[in-house]
Symmetry: C2
DNA sequence: TGTAGTGCTACACAATTCGTAGCGCAAGCT
DNA sequence: AGCTTGCGCTACGAATTGTGTAGCACTACA
């Protein structure tokens, strides 16, 4: 758990998983989806998430693995929470 | 959602919420629960999470708000995922 | 008047991230 | 062959963020 919290608590990590939840994206597409995050960090995060077996690089671009998609589902829950939460803020 | 992803994607943010999921903790107790993170960042994160209304400071220490606890529930789901995921790694 | 514990600040150092430029490569066109 | 276009990704100085340690101001209790 701590390993995961640590990995997800790095810049763009959660965002990358969120942006890939639907379909695979190319490096550049992912980058522009992530507010043009700097390519160095982006690539570093991709490598880390790949090491954690949460995503892989396919011919169609970067895509979540089956494990990554399980995590993606949790992010959808998080999104539901975010909407409920935004109203009360 | 982006606001939330950005806030949670900062060092110790997720960890703080995770450590507070059970009971309130004092500043120092929280600090030692978080691998003795440096007090400056810890305090900064606490201020940010307080601004987002996810936690408050009570007489018993720092505690999740009702919104924070809703998020805490999602972290428990994340923990279940983490355990399943750790086996496959 | 001391001692012990608290929340928290200060500050120099280290690590991380940003922003921009551009390399090397493959595909397609002329 | 040459030329362009788009790709994944690297390089690197500047800016931002986090670390580690010391210790202040305060309260409670002896």
């Amino acid at each position: 758990m701590m390993v995961l919290l640590d990995a997800l608590g790095r810049r763009w990590a959660l965002r990358i998983l969120w942006e890939l939840r639907g379909a695979p994206l190319s490096f550049r597409a992912l980058r522009s989806a992530c507010d043009d995050a700097s390519p160095s960090v982006l690539n570093q995060r991709l490598a880390e998430l790949r090491d954690l077996a949460l995503l892989t690089s396919t011919e169609e671009g970067y895509a979540l693995t089956s494990e990554g998609q399980r995590l993606g589902v949790l992010l959808v829950d998080l999104d539901r929470f975010a909407q409920h939460w935004a109203k009360k803020l």
